[in-house]
């Protein structure tokens, strides 16, 4: 079973619409990371969150880590076709030794 559950599993939105992807862990997270993957390619780092309540933004993408550090959300404002891909959350299980990914959310943006 996956320790990081993402929802929704897939998302199809019209260009210009806002959307939110959630990542939930059953355990307190040491660090929470968001990555984007173009189909069949490597992963691109988006953001890292470490402190409960932390929020970071880059261009039209905002990520938040809740106070209890067990859930994170990724919000995209005014989506564009370039936002399409697979979004993955990832986390440290403990300082250093292992890194694991969520189940992934496939995003399609229709022009």
């Amino acid at each position: 079973s996956q320790e990081l559950e993402q929802s929704p599993q897939s998302l199809i939105v019209q260009e210009g619409k806002n959307l939110t992807i959630n990542c939930t862990s059953s355990k307190t997270l040491y660090g929470l990371y968001w990555y984007k993957q173009k189909y069949g390619e490597g992963l691109i780092f988006l953001m890292m969150l470490q402190k409960g309540g932390e929020e970071k933004s880059h261009e039209k993408i905002t990520a938040k880590l809740d106070e209890k550090k067990q859930q994170s959300s990724l919000h995209i404002t005014a989506s564009q076709p370039s936002h399409a891909g697979i979004y993955l959350c990832g986390a440290d299980r403990s300082p250093g030794n292992q890194f694991y990914f969520g189940t992934g959310t496939s995003l399609t943006v229709i022009p």
């Binding site: 069949g40 470490q50 993955l88 990832g90 250093g96 030794n97």
Partner: protein, 116 residues
């Protein structure tokens, strides 16, 4: 500067064969990790190496092995290939030091293995 490079990019093997995948990290990165990504799923952690020592291992059988060389490049070896080993194998490097957070991982484009 070159990013993480992996080779080969694509390969086809038959059941029972052996495969070696290679990864060169970003210059200055001493930590390398390997992931298996089956179609439609998130990457699964296989190994992490730091300073040429194994620092973490995921839930994979002993058919999977890896090593890191003095120049910090790494190899992933898989013996006795099964159909279920067909996947995209990703390598990532980072600045990580022992005991610290993983930090930002820089990924290669992956090696796509097909087992027939």
């Amino acid at each position: 500067d070159a990013g993480v490079t992996q080779s080969p990019t694509h390969l086809i093997k038959t059941r029972g064969q052996h495969v070696t995948l290679r990864c060169s990290p970003i210059s200055g990165h001493k930590s390398v990790s390997w992931y298996q990504q089956v179609l439609g799923q998130g990457p699964q952690f296989i190994f992490q190496y730091y300073e040429k020592e194994e620092r973490g291992r995921g839930n994979f059988p002993d058919r999977f092995s890896a090593r890191q060389f003095p120049n910090y490049s790494s190899e992933l070896n898989v013996n006795a290939l099964l159909l279920g080993d067909s996947a995209l194998y990703l390598c990532a490097s980072s600045w990580r030091t022992s005991g610290s957070s993983v930090g930002e991982l820089f990924f290669g484009e992956g090696s796509r293995l097909t087992v027939l």
